[in-house]
Symmetry: C2
Subunit: 302 residues, 2 copies
Amino acid sequence: MVNSENFDKMMAEKVEYVQNVIKSFLPKKENCPETLYDALVYSMEAGGKRLRPILMLETYRLFGGNKAVIEPFMAAIEMIHTSSLIHDDLPAIDNDELRRGRKTTHAVYGEAMGILSGDALLNYAYETALEAFRYNFDRDSLFMAMKVLAAKTGIYGMLGGQSVDVENDKKGNLSPDLGMLEYIHKHKTSALIEAPMMIGAILAGAQKGEISCVEEIGGKIGLAFQIRDDILDVISTDDVLGKPVRSDAKNEKVTYADLLGLEAAKKKVNDITAEAIRLLQTLPGENQFLESLVENMANRNK
Amino acid sequence: MVNSENFDKMMAEKVEYVQNVIKSFLPKKENCPETLYDALVYSMEAGGKRLRPILMLETYRLFGGNKAVIEPFMAAIEMIHTSSLIHDDLPAIDNDELRRGRKTTHAVYGEAMGILSGDALLNYAYETALEAFRYNFDRDSLFMAMKVLAAKTGIYGMLGGQSVDVENDKKGNLSPDLGMLEYIHKHKTSALIEAPMMIGAILAGAQKGEISCVEEIGGKIGLAFQIRDDILDVISTDDVLGKPVRSDAKNEKVTYADLLGLEAAKKKVNDITAEAIRLLQTLPGENQFLESLVENMANRNK
């Protein structure tokens, strides 16, 4: 593990690097319709933790990867994540006007532009990932990385989980138990943690068994991350989170905190995180920063 | 050209073949969340003319293509087109409850599921197109076809045009002239006609200059198709169209029929169509059915 002061410094440097990578892959203003471009860039520049590209990069490094071919995928995963946030925030879904301390995209640009900018950003993620084919790099690995990106995003992954989640609220009529919550989180949240880590492993040339192990680790990190999210929604404040707390209660969503109680939910976060780190340590190579990041995600306050 | 009786028979056979191709690439029910799967399949099975996959196939054949590698792209282009229809119909955009004589997706499954099924279908189009990499086929051609698919769909293509179009209605404050209408149609409609034709040419091994010519032909066919759409919105009936006519007026959209008048708009459709067919005839190879299809699209009554 990296000590807390070093971790913060390293994390800040990595976030800055990721911001520059993302910026370099954004569409060119002069070729785009103005409002759609503005809405798309507004959402991408809203900040956020940039955890998914960093997890991709650190997993890539864990397996010895050191080429620029990873960069278009780093930008693409953050675009997909951001596109899902834009659509989640829409009035017909979570109806949130505030995210990361700023107005949400549809709150600024209107609902139609919220829908279209989310679409455009999801699509642009694929345009961006395809830039990787410009590098002189093994075609089959690139193809496998593209397949993972698309499968983990879609009906079998994040969007599938999101669709069950919208039925777990006041508009739906499901009464979720722990099994259904795990399904939702496994797909809605974990899929987009599994994907970047798997892509990092694939592009670094990891073996099949190692890629499966990374998928399992990503699943655990994602679940811990989501349960921590549910906990923060109960114990944090609007100012710290940059978005309204108790939003789950407002939307009548059932969460881990409800089903397990706060203490048991916190214990579950710790247990799953410890398992994820133990599995990380079974892999060849070592990445102390990655282990600290996983620990840090589980204990975050925002 | 093919005579009218033969054309209808050939068209019916081709539509049936395309339906089967699309069906074979739909997601597998058992692995999907139920409501999202139902909404996605509902939208894909709503019928429609399947013009884009047929244009792709016929351009592929024009250049001598005869392999199954075209099929995932045929399914993908129809998925992208359908996903854009689902989102166009949403209350925040065109607010249409009827399309192709059936209730629109959000009218049946609710607005949240309308948004998510459009997202899932757009994403699934890329999952589907990536299936082409399973074939033993030139990687660079597949990559180029993927790039065209993504670029023509996104902010530089269809979604870009759609974003300007939503500002051309009662919610926006633009007063479009012919130049802006051409921009909208060139992107909103033509881009998804250019893409399938270019992909057909690319996968059949057409030369660079031929691919550019095909792009130009697709642009003309798309523009003629859209102006015909505007005309039908004025002169047709709900029953024939399967959706409410005068929807442009309802949404306070400015159309070609408004700016040019009906007769001049009809003449423009004929002129552009004649140019498209002339350009088609400059290409090596011959496809009489494709020429008839282009003619037919320009004179369609629904």
